[in-house]
């Protein structure tokens, strides 16, 4: 059927639109982003602006190539992709990391599949993973927080050279993320409980005063955005809850069984991008399943994979890999988890016309 001209019912609408949805997600990201920008100073601000601009520009370029109307860029999806890439990058990464990531995310991750709604993988995570594999050094150079206005913070000029001339960060500031630190320590035969007791303060991790990607460090602010999204009914609870619950359950089991080698629940839930991933990335509607049961399965798969990769994988951080892997399973999960249709049994056969009570009465009458 061609895209039709006849206008059929309904003649009413909630007034919701794709642009509105995307902009609300961006809005939900504002608190944690602002905090990240404050925490990591001017280099982070430069990187953020460059990445978002590159994403929007790439979208415009693709629309021009594909001969689509330019105003499609206003749907906000490119901005959101760029935004998500920016806040999952190391905050002092050079500008070209952001540009390459944004180009890869929007052009390869989305437009090559046929544009919005057609991509199989989350574009932001695809871009981040591609960057991590291609530029491992830049993608794992973390800095300790140096809030704007603090003594350690670089000056504007220094910041410009950090972002645009790839100047190295001052040695005093470089350091590993909590996850990276633990991984290194474990390979050196330290026990997990010792490392955590010395170097990990859970409330600091929760507030976000730690090394990490630009927007993922403050768990509290991520949760604030998540609550907004759920209140606006843009995301549903199934994926994040099952993802976090699965991760929590497995980390608890392994911590109880072998505390020397496995970190606990609090560490896993407050470190790295797991909260950001659970609420903002795994819930991406385009690449996640549709029905509730499917969402629960999808979330559980993400949570399990995060746990597996963090503990036994080659990289300290696991959210991007897990989400991408589960994205690839989405069509399969969707296929086997359809909602039950009214008047039909779960398999699709019609319900029996008489209830058991009626049947009993019928039998009695004969």
């Amino acid at each position: 059927m061609s895209d039709a001209t006849v206008f059929s019912s309904p003649f009413a609408h909630t007034g919701n639109s794709v642009t509105y949805v995307m902009l609300q997600v961006c809005f939900a990201l504002v608190p944690c982003t602002l905090f990240g920008l404050y925490l990591f100073g001017w280099p982070a601000i430069f990187l953020f602006v460059v990445t978002c601009a590159a994403a929007v520009f790439t979208e415009l370029l693709c629309l021009y190539w594909l001969k689509q109307p330019w105003y499609r860029v206003l749907d906000g999806s490119a901005l959101l992709t760029g935004w998500l890439i920016a806040i999952t990058l190391p905050p002092w990464a050079p500008w070209w990391i952001g540009v390459v990531g944004a180009f890869f995310g929007v052009a390869v991750g989305k437009q090559l599949y046929g544009g919005i709604g057609q991509n199989i993988f989350n574009p932001a995570m695809l871009a981040r993973t591609a960057l991590l594999i291609t530029f491992p050094v830049q993608l794992t150079s973390w800095v300790a927080p140096a809030p704007l206005g603090s003594e350690l913070a670089p000056t504007l000029l220094q910041s410009l050279s950090i972002t645009f001339a790839s100047a190295p960060a001052p040695d005093a500031l470089t350091g590993a993320t909590a996850l990276g630190h633990l991984k290194t320590a474990l390979t050196l035969d330290h026990s997990a409980s010792d490392v955590l007791a010395n170097d990990f303060v859970w409330w600091k991790a929760l507030l976000g005063m730690s090394a990490g990607s630009m927007g993922e460090t403050s768990e509290v602010l991520v949760l604030l955005g998540a609550v907004f999204l759920m209140w606006r009914r843009i995301i549903r609870w199934e994926i994040p809850v099952s993802m976090l619950a699965t991760l929590a359950v497995f980390s608890l089991i392994f911590q109880v069984a072998d505390g020397e080698n496995y970190a606990g629940v609090l560490f896993h839930l407050t470190s790295g991008g797991v909260l950001l991933g659970a609420f903002f990335i795994a819930t991406d509607p385009i690449t996640s399943p549709i029905s509730r049961l499917a969402k629960l399965i999808f979330g559980a798969g993400c949570g399990l994979l995060v746990f597996v990769i963090r503990n036994w994988g080659g990289f300290p951080e696991a959210v991007a890999f897990s989400v991408l892997f589960m994205n690839s399973l989405t069509p399969l999960i969707d296929r086997y988890c359809r909602p039950r249709v009214y008047g039909r049994l779960p398999g699709g056969k019609p319900l029996p016309p008489l209830s058991s009570v009626d049947l009993a009465r019928e039998v009695k009458r004969r």
Binding site: S8, P10, A12, S77, I116, G117, I286, L351
Partner: protein, 505 residues
């Protein structure tokens, strides 16, 4: 009581569109001045068109049958006022295509004189089947918009064990308040109608279901139902599409109508309050269906209101009675905004199934440009039938109708909840209507094909039988030379018939 305590969410999905009901619900039903000319379309119901039984020039009285129902699933048409038949011609039908439809055109004489209905006595003394036939002769169809002949439902009901007569007063469409107003003003007649239907079906009880956003209607109906046992008034949550029979049955009885079955299979029969009122009028006074309450509303109407319109009154006449239009309406709709059909002209007549005439202002009509699906699953959440509208639409769009069927197209009730919430503004219902239409056409074609095959097989069989008979005759003749034997007759074969038209109903 128990249900009130537990308050389990019975119906899935659904949406909550803004009601816009206050203005028209506040005013009494307006009696319209007699229009000069009435246009009575012969197709105002599901099933076969009615056949005219009057000639041009005939004088008719109000309530006189002017077209008869040619088959069981059909309904007759009655003159809705006294006057003279001036023409039987094609007029523009109240249909989005603007297709023509045959109508009987009557010039009213201003007297509005009723025909002698000849009905007297207590309907409770009559046999159920007699009463059902009287409903059939009154031309009553489902007035909630489904326009299925009411008598067919009643007769089906007499063949099943019906426990509950469900009177549908939920009226979930935005803007529409005709049922609300009717329940407030004619509560006793509706309760009486429900009791009559209960009598016809020998049902256990009658339940009148009203959405809880109509407290006055609930109060009026409760007061009217009070004196009678087994007539209950139940408030149901306000939600679209609560007025759909399947959802209402689930809400009231907790049971689902099996796919492909009718509601009678779960012991329930659903009638709209307007239909029940019409049935009461037919059985008590012998009055056929010649008028109905129509909500005239929308931002472009000056004084939104419910009017009692004679069937066949031009829509323009209704709008004039409500103060006319303030500017050009962005959309003119017959019915509610969720399931109604767009009107191309205000000259089309009011029909039996017309619940409302809406003239929507520009800001009330959503923009129609669609963007790609982002698989947000809003439609899945909204679907009251538990379907996957986005998958159905994707497949319908690719003309993969089997795939669409597989994702639930057959179970789709076209309520429009999915399209209402879609952030991409995808015209989902339009895709489904298209796919359903194609599927119907395909099924009809398959049926025809099967029939043709059947016929050719029968023909072959007949030829074979004739040959065999001839051979047998020859053999018999040969044998007759020895001793006489009567030859066998060739096998009887079917005459070629055209497939009956009612099958698709």
């Amino acid at each position: 009581m128990l249900r009130g305590l537990l308050k389990l969410p019975q119906v899935r999905g659904g949406v909550h569109p803004v009601g816009h009901k206050d203005r028209s619900a506040a005013l009494h039903i307006l009696e319209l001045p007699l229009p000069e000319r009435l246009y009575l379309p012969l197709r105002q119901h599901a099933g076969a068109d009615a056949i005219p039984v009057v000639k041009v020039g005939d004088k008719v009285l109000k309530g006189q049958m002017v077209a008869v129902a040619p088959s069981e699933i059909s309904a007759p048409v009655h003159a809705s006022s006294s006057g003279r038949v001036v023409d039987i011609a094609e007029i523009m039908a109240p249909h989005p295509s603007g297709l023509k439809s045959t109508a009987i055109i009557i010039d009213t004489d201003g007297e509005d004189r009723w025909i002698d209905t000849g009905v007297s006595g207590d309907p409770y003394d009559e046999e159920p089947l007699t009463l059902a036939n009287r409903v059939a002769n009154a031309g009553i169809v489902g007035m909630g918009g489904a326009i299925f002949p009411a008598a067919v439902k009643l007769k089906q009901g007499t063949r099943h064990e019906i426990k509950t007569v469900l009177v549908n007063g939920s009226e979930c469409e935005p803007f529409l308040t005709c049922d609300d107003r009717l329940m407030r003003e004619k509560a006793e007649e509706i309760v009486e109608g429900a009791r009559l239907i209960r009598h016809i079906l020998r049902a256990y009880k009658a339940v009148i279901a009203i959405e809880d956003n109509k407290p006055e209607a609930i109060a009026a109906m409760r007061a009217a139902a009070e004196p009678y046992g087994m007539v209950e008034v139940e408030a149901v949550p306000s939600m679209y599409p609560m007025g759909s029979a399947k959802q209402l049955i689930q809400e009231i009885t907790g049971r689902e109508v099996p796919a492909g079955a009718r509601s009678t299979s779960v012991g329930v029969l659903v009638h709209n309050v307007g239909t029940v009122y019409a049935i009461h009028q037919a059985l008590t006074y012998g009055r056929p269906l010649v008028s109905r309450i129509v909500t005239v509303a929308g931002g472009a109407i000056n004084r939104p209101r419910n009017v009692n319109a004679l069937v066949g009154t031009p829509v323009q006449h209704l709008i004039d009675a409500c103060g006319g239009l303030n500017g050009d309406p962005a959309k003119l709709i017959l019915g509610g905004p969720m399931m109604g059909v767009p009107l191309l002209s205000t000259q089309v007549p009011t029909i039996k199934g017309a619940t409302g005439v809406l003239a929507l202002a520009k800001h009330e009509v959503p923009r129609s440009e669609a963007s790609p699906c982002i698989r947000c699953a809003s439609c899945v959440e909204a679907c009251p039938m538990g379907l996957l509208p986005l998958e159905m639409a994707a497949r319908s769009r690719a003309d993969d109708f089997e795939g669409a069927d597989d994702y639930g197209l057959r179970d789709c009730i076209l309520c429009g909840s999915c399209a209402y919430v879609c952030p991409s503004h995808i015209p989902l219902v339009q895709y489904f209507q298209y796919a359903k239409g194609e599927q119907d056409a395909k099924r009809t074609a398959t049926k025809k094909m099967d029939y043709t095959v059947e016929l050719s097989l029968a023909k072959q069989a007949r030829i074979d039988a004739e040959k065999a008979a001839k051979a047998a005759e020859k053999a018999a003749k040969k044998a007759a030379k020895k001793k006489p034997v009567t030859a066998t007759k060739p096998a009887e074969t079917d005459e070629i018939k055209s497939p009956s038209e009612e099958e698709s109903v």
